[in-house]
């Protein structure tokens, strides 16, 4: 889950602060945690979380020149990249190839880093359970719940990240929440 302060700093992250490198560092420092948490909810292996996080920021750094804050916040932009990275990872894993190792030049973690990432994965256990409960939902509804209710994006940011209009996002989000609520009441 994302705290209010994280959401506030996310707003800062889209603001200009000088050179592109300084801007990118600002974005990195304010979003590395939420991006890592996004992958930690989806993967149980510290090395995979590290690789996918690295790959997201490597791609972001490479494409930072085309990032336009007027089209959405930095966080929305990063989650759009993270979604593509994860989709690529799933596709390649299904084919038995480790594309992330190739793209991110797979850096081996030391024991401290593994411990940090394992703690992060553990902290996201509740979020992972919610994602598992959303398994029966359509993909867009599942992503809407994850981005808004777990990652802490605003509906506008989530819409940008998922490439849909805000109206569509709100409808899907509302529908997904209603289904989950109904399912929860059924369990009780």
């Amino acid at each position: 889950m994302v705290s209010e302060s994280d959401r506030e700093t996310a707003t800062v992250s889209s603001g200009p602060s000088g050179s592109a490198l300084a801007d990118f560092e600002h974005i990195y420092r304010h979003n590395i945690g939420v991006v890592m948490a996004y992958f930690a909810r989806r993967c149980g292996e510290p090395q995979v979380v590290a690789d996918l996080t690295s790959e997201t920021f490597v791609r972001a750094a490479g494409g930072f020149g085309s990032f336009d804050p007027r089209r959405g916040t930095a966080r929305a932009w990063l989650f759009g990249i993270a979604g593509h990275v994860f989709a690529g990872h799933c596709a390649q894993s299904a084919n038995g190839r480790d594309v992330v190792a190739r793209l991110a030049q797979h850096r081996a973690l030391d024991s401290d880093e593994i411990e940090e990432l394992a703690a992060k994965i553990d902290a996201e256990r509740a979020g992972r359970e919610l994602i598992e409960r959303c398994a029966q939902l359509p993909e867009l509804e599942r992503a809407a719940v994850e981005f808004v209710d777990l990652a802490g994006l605003t509906p506008k940011e989530a819409a940008t990240a998922l490439g849909v209009s805000r109206v569509v996002l709100r409808k899907r989000l509302s529908r997904a929440r209603a289904r989950l609520r109904k399912e929860h009441q059924g369990d009780e």
Binding site: E8, T11, G18, A22
Partner: protein
């Protein structure tokens, strides 16, 4: 940041730092984005509850080399890209009413000795010269933790083309204009544990005092050398100016003597502060706790 996050950032800078540094946003866009904030001057634009405040602190015509960001928890993050931007950052801190200043560490400065902790960090930075380092030095400070009458000073220096900031320190009175690169003698003379003939032994107060005097003499000699060899260093001009000294309220005519921690020390030719030893002829000496190097600040490096 965690170790993983730090290592990843260094990797990114190594692989994409040069590309990122070359990215130029359209000037019209940058000007459009920055001008409203500049028109607001030092005022703060609130974009509603839960929105962080970003203050851009530079002229619209040139990219800012510093920034002061207010965080959601009430702290401020100060970022510095160039050492020359230190004055702009300090001016903005003053405009915001924050009693904190970035203070340049330079040879030839005879105003204030560098706190021992900062000396170690600076040596570490020098040993890392040539290796990848963050291009922007950042530090976080909390104005609520700065007691009335004190200033938070942040030693700032440049090593191998990269600006570094060190842990902040609280000090009485105004912030000094600069820090010397020479380490300050210890603030408090206490019996110290030393290794003597392979055994731990306590120095007597007299021996400890002698050592403190030696450290002070070493500092004065080193500072005197740098003053004579770097007369146009840009900061030595402040050495005789009591208004710029670390404890201006205690400054006075040179040539007299001051007392601190029971030590009688001779004042140098100019008024300056050496660790906790403030040469304050005509005024009461500064107590050890109002010195500088022994008081750690509320914020460190980010």
């Amino acid at each position: 940041m965690s170790k993983f996050e730090d290592r990843l950032w260094r990797d990114l800078v190594r692989r994409h730092g040069a590309d990122l540094a070359e990215i130029r946003r359209p000037e019209s866009e940058r000007a459009r984005r920055t001008r409203p904030r500049l028109l607001a001057g030092t005022s703060v634009a609130l974009a509603g509850a839960g929105t962080a405040l970003v203050l851009l602190l530079s002229a619209a015509s040139s990219p800012p080399a510093f920034a002061v960001n207010r965080n959601a928890d009430g702290t401020y993050t100060v970022s510095l890209q160039k050492l020359a931007a230190i004055h702009g950052a300090n001016a903005k801190l003053a405009a915001l009413g924050i009693r904190a200043r970035l203070v340049v560490v330079t040879q030839g400065c005879t105003v204030k000795a560098l706190p021992p902790g900062a000396v170690h960090a600076m040596a570490l930075a020098q040993s890392m010269a040539g290796k990848e380092a963050p291009q922007v030095a950042t530090t976080r400070l909390d104005p609520r933790k700065i007691p009335p009458g004190k200033f938070q000073v942040i030693p700032t220096y440049k090593v191998a083309g990269t600006v570094h900031v060190q842990q902040a320190h609280l000090m009485q009175g105004q912030a000094p204009a600069c820090f010397s690169t020479v380490v300050a003698p210890p603030c408090t003379v206490r019996p110290m544990t030393v290794l003597r003939n392979g055994h731990l032994a306590q120095l007597t107060p007299a021996e400890a005092e002698k050592r403190a005097k030696q450290a002070l003499a070493t500092f004065r000699a080193a500072a005197g050398r740098s003053r004579s060899t770097t007369t146009d260093s840009g900061n030595s001009g402040n050495s005789g100016n009591s208004g710029n000294s670390g404890n201006s309220g205690n400054s006075g005519a040179p040539g007299s003597s001051g007392t601190s921690n029971g030590l009688q020390v001779l004042a140098p030719a100019t008024t300056w502060t050496v660790g906790c030893y403030v040469h304050a002829p005509g005024h009461p000496p500064v107590t050890p706790n109002s010195g500088n190097s022994g008081n750690s600040g509320t914020s460190g490096n980010s």
